[in-house]
């Protein structure tokens, strides 16, 4: 029977996250792509976008996750989306939902190979609006209602789980359900503006532990493998159990810059630009891609959960500890220490690493 070989080295990414525009009509406080958009050297024009899609099809990339900014602000976005679909590539669009009109929804409903993910950061207007901006709750749900009324089939509502909306997870799940949408919970990571909000928004150990149990009990909730560092036994057969950056995925910025993943878009992780070099060559050869592929999280090797999370998310580890090759500071063994675990090498979330490691283990640092 087919086996799970997800740690195998692949010849090309399976999916590519493409922040297709640097424009956005909202200013969410935790925007992961805020820095990328600020530093972007413009946008690829439509012809260049189509060339990139041709290349992704030639590489046999299965899926493109379009994000931004807000993709639907780009006047030619629907053409680009259609072009990718004609190549047989599955398209997932992450949108803030505020640009959805009846006409646009009519077009989207007719598309095959399309998944839509609408961001909403709470089940209550006050909670969401405190993060995504005044009045956005209502505007987002208007867009969601349009999709729901037209029975758009592959719809999910996505909430980035923070200390602010944590209490509303159950209510959010029911809200999504009432629109015929699946619930998607994403991990809050200290990337982009998220790094500025880290102390305020990150989850406590108790919240991490609770979330691990909740996800185990609710296998139908989508996470995009965000929370594999918290995976408990109930969920261990689902999804990936290791970081996909530079192995299964990579990210393309609005100007064509390539990074190992959408959460590793710091200049230190710049791998190349598709205007100058093919994405396939960048993925295969760039030093930072090879570094991440070979990354071993040394202090984790003796942990009882290593096979479940392989050290967790290097993006969180990097932005919190300033170093690659250290454990994810929000892993389950930090939230619920096991017998003899964590070892001395595992810092508490947010604690400067140097205070916890007598001899800091530093693997290849970008």
């Amino acid at each position: 029977m087919p086996q799970n070989l997800s740690s195998e080295r692949l010849g090309a990414p399976v999916n590519v996250t493409w922040e297709i525009t640097d424009h956005c009509n909202l200013g969410c406080r935790h925007c992961l792509s805020a820095d990328l958009r600020r530093e972007s050297g413009g946008e690829l024009d439509r012809e260049r976008c189509e060339t990139l899609i041709d290349e992704l099809a030639a590489l046999q990339v299965f899926q493109i996750n379009f994000g931004g900014g807000e993709p639907f602000l780009r006047p030619d976005f629907m053409d680009i989306l259609r072009y990718a679909q004609t190549k047989g590539i599955v398209t997932c669009v992450s949108t803030n939902g505020t640009m959805l009109t009846p006409e646009l929804v009519d077009e989207l409903v007719g598309m095959e190979l399309l998944f839509l993910q609408v961001s909403l950061d709470g089940a209550q207007a006050a909670t969401n609006d405190a993060i995504r901006g005044e009045g956005t709750f209502e505007r987002i749900l208007e867009g969601v209602s349009l999709l729901s009324r037209r029975s758009f089939p592959d719809l999910s509502l996505n909430m980035v789980v923070t200390s602010v909306n944590f209490e509303e997870i159950g209510e959010f799940h029911r809200l999504a359900d009432s629109f015929g949408a699946r619930t998607r919970l994403s991990r809050f990571r200290p990337s982009g503006d998220g790094s500025r909000m880290w102390e305020q928004y990150r989850l406590s150990r108790d919240q991490l532990a609770w979330l691990s149990g909740f996800l185990g009990e609710n296998p139908g909730i989508l996470t995009g493998d965000s929370f594999f560092s918290l995976t408990n036994a109930d969920r261990q057969t689902q999804g990936l159990r290791t970081c996909g950056a530079a192995r299964m995925t990579c990210a393309v910025g609005p100007d064509g810059s390539v990074f190992p993943c959408a959460f590793l878009c710091d200049p230190a992780f710049l791998a190349g630009n598709v205007v100058e070099e093919s994405l396939g060559a960048i993925f295969e050869n760039a030093l930072i891609m090879r570094t991440l592929r070979d990354l071993e999280v040394e202090p984790c090797q003796t942990c009882d959960r290593f096979s479940l999370c392989n050290g967790g998310c290097p993006a969180v580890a990097y932005f919190v500890t300033d170093s690659l090759g250290l454990p994810d500071p929000e892993c389950l063994r930090v939230a619920i220490p096991g017998p003899g675990i964590p070892g001395p090498g595992i810092p508490a979330p947010g604690t400067p690493v140097a205070e916890h490691l007598s001899a800091p283990e530093r693997a290849e640092v970008a």
Partner: protein, 82 residues
Amino acid sequence: MKTYHLAPWARARQERFGLLFYDTRSTTMTFVRSGDRLVAPPFDDRAVPLRVVTRSPAEELRVIRVLDGLEAKGLVVAAEPE
């Protein structure tokens, strides 16, 4: 031997270890350690059947078992020989 085609919603690509399948309905992947014994159709011509390259009856049996598993997952569709 039956022939096997990719299901209309399935994709497959060749990797060093064998085949990597992708289900467009759920966006899930299936890794198959088939080495060079199963050859995926071209990405842009999914009508071509999967090619089975085996060197012994025992190997053929193993590959058929894998294909049956993939059929149960809805990733390939089997057709009886004409």
